[in-house]
């Protein structure tokens, strides 16, 4: 039972990450390979604030949000002059740089040794320790992320993002500063990813840089693409598919070394199949084929 609850918690955290990325990739049409980096910023900030300053879980979450928002500007502001493939490369570069900082700033992050003994969350005096409690918390965080993204998507702000995904030139002739919308979308997306990162850190109680690699960012992007960008259920479906189906490989009886590699092949094959036969994803609104 604990195993199933663990999978549900992971699926909820990945749903938060996929939904947060969907604001950028699905609604604004900005592909980003740095969501794991923002998740890592949230996780490390929250963990360090709890361990070094004794800050509460929610205080740590807030710290993670602020840090990720600030760092998002490091990507988005220089990227205002970039589009398409070049913007993707910029986000990729940020992801790689941040991983290396986490891995090499030993005094702060303990590098590859990671941070241990991260306290489990205490919210309004209630300690969340059981798996069922974490399921509720992870589902609440995913629900909050979903609420924020869809509230924005259904607002005039979201209308501009949808327009921007098709034609950045046109919206400038409509008195809209495309860069402002791009920077804001990046910031919100990063902040929401940081919330998921904080929860992850306080759930597993141990983090190291390998949890926030470029492969994780690609996995989160795959969830959006496979589920369907810009749709209400797309990122949720993508996260559930990519978290649960590889777990099924465990029950085939393959050696774990083979199963791990098979998982990567599974992601790759699924992405190729989706791009060829269903570019809008399983339940998506937009494709990336334009």
């Amino acid at each position: 039972m604990d195993y199933i609850l663990h999978i549900i918690i992971l699926a909820s955290i990945y749903t938060s990450l996929a939904v947060s990325l969907d604001l950028l990739a699905g609604h604004a049409g900005i592909l980003s390979i740095s969501q794991a980096a923002f998740c890592g910023l949230g996780a490390y900030t929250s963990a360090l604030l709890a361990l070094r300053f004794g800050l509460s879980f929610l205080g740590g979450v807030l710290g993670g949000i602020l840090t990720a928002t600030l760092f998002s500007c490091l990507v988005s502001l220089p990227s205002t002059r970039l589009r398409g493939d070049y913007l993707i490369i910029a986000t990729f570069a940020f992801q790689v740089i941040l991983f290396n900082i986490l891995n090499n700033w030993i005094e702060l992050t303990r590098g590859p040794l990671g941070i241990t003994d991260i306290p489990q969350p205490v919210i309004l005096g209630l300690a969340v320790q059981s798996q069922a409690g974490f399921v509720a918390l992870a589902a609440a965080f995913a629900g909050f992320t979903y609420f924020v993204v869809w509230r924005l998507a259904k607002s005039p702000f979201g209308r501009v993002l949808h327009a921007m995904r098709e034609d950045q030139v046109l919206i400038q002739s409509f008195r809209k500063d495309a860069n402002r919308f791009k920077v804001t979308a990046f910031a919100v997306s990063a902040a929401l990813a940081a919330i998921a990162g904080s929860l992850y850190a306080h759930y597993v109680t141990y983090i190291d840089p390998t949890s926030f690699t470029v492969m994780e960012s690609i996995l989160i992007l795959s969830m959006v693409i496979i589920g369907g960008p810009g749709s209400p259920w797309g990122p949720l479906v993508g996260a559930v598919v990519l978290v649960t189906l590889p777990e099924a490989l465990r029950f085939i009886g393959l050696p774990s070394s083979v199963a791990a590699n098979l998982r990567q092949i599974f992601y790759g094959a699924l992405l190729v199949i989706m791009m060829m036969f269903r570019p809008r994803g399983l339940v998506g609104r937009y494709g990336f084929g334009r």
Binding site: V169, L170, F174, K176
Partner: protein
């Protein structure tokens, strides 16, 4: 209405001179047509005025503002709106949403208000009503809920005009508003341009359709090889045989 003028504009693309010292004072009322053969620099001039292309030299002024180094959204905030030759519209949203997108200074476009919605619902209601009035004006009220990409070419031209008007700009720059449309649509668009003039809007448009220019323009500017070669009332400019023969035949 603030006067729009250009002073010694120059622009080169890969060694090709698109604009060669263009100096122009646009009339501050009525309809002005810019004509000339392909490659004359008409669209480049429009792109420079609206900030989408930076000139190599020279300046554009809107009243007291120097606009030739401003970002496009800042220029449009000063009251300049434009359409594009390649009919830029947001294809995957509805006709109504396209027009609403054009409305300036929307509170709900700011993150705080988009999240907390203070006054946004009422503003959206007003914007929707305003957008419907504009769709009524251009004759597309029945298409409000259709996707913009599903409209015919002529209807898309009408929609670009409605979007342009939604910005509340005083000066409209239209790139070939009647070119390529059917015989029934062209008079409809020209009628709309006349109504805009009657409402006090300044319209500057590029056009190849000379009969349309003759019919509605108050002033005609002729360009060739990146230079302005004639400017004046249509009956005078279009009556000059050398212009008609050399550039418009």
């Amino acid at each position: 209405m603030e006067a729009l003028r250009c002073d010694s504009l120059q622009k080169t693309f890969d060694g090709t001179h698109a604009l060669r010292g263009v100096t122009l004072q646009f009339p501050s009322t009525g309809i002005t047509a810019i004509i000339g053969p392909n490659g004359a620099g008409k669209t480049t001039l429009l792109n420079v005025i609206t900030g989408f292309v930076r000139p190599d030299a020279g300046q554009c002024f809107l009243g007291q503002h120097v606009i030739s180094r401003m970002a496009p959204h800042r220029i449009s905030s000063l009251g300049l709106a434009r359409t594009f030759q390649d009919l830029r519209l947001i294809q995957q949203i509805t006709v109504l949403e396209n027009v609403m997108l054009g409305r300036p200074n929307q509170r709900g476009e700011h993150l705080f208000y988009a999240l907390f919605r203070f006054g946004v619902k009422a503003e959206e209601g007003r914007n929707r009503e305003g957008a419907m009035r504009l769709l009524q004006f251009v004759g597309l009220p029945g298409k409000a809920d259709e996707l913009a990409g599903e409209l015919s070419y002529g209807e898309q031209k009408l929609l670009t005009l409605a979007c342009c008007m939604a910005t509340d700009a005083g000066i409209l720059l239209l790139d070939e508003p009647v070119s390529g449309v059917g015989a029934e649509m062209a008079p409809r668009i020209m009628k709309l341009l006349r109504r805009l003039r009657d409402d006090g809007k300044v319209t500057i448009f590029i056009e190849h359709n000379i009969s349309a220019v003759r019919e509605i323009a108050d002033v005609v500017i002729v360009m060739d090889e990146g230079k302005v070669i004639a400017q004046g009332p249509p009956e005078e400019v279009l009556g000059r045989p050398e212009i008609m023969e050399a550039y418009l035949a």
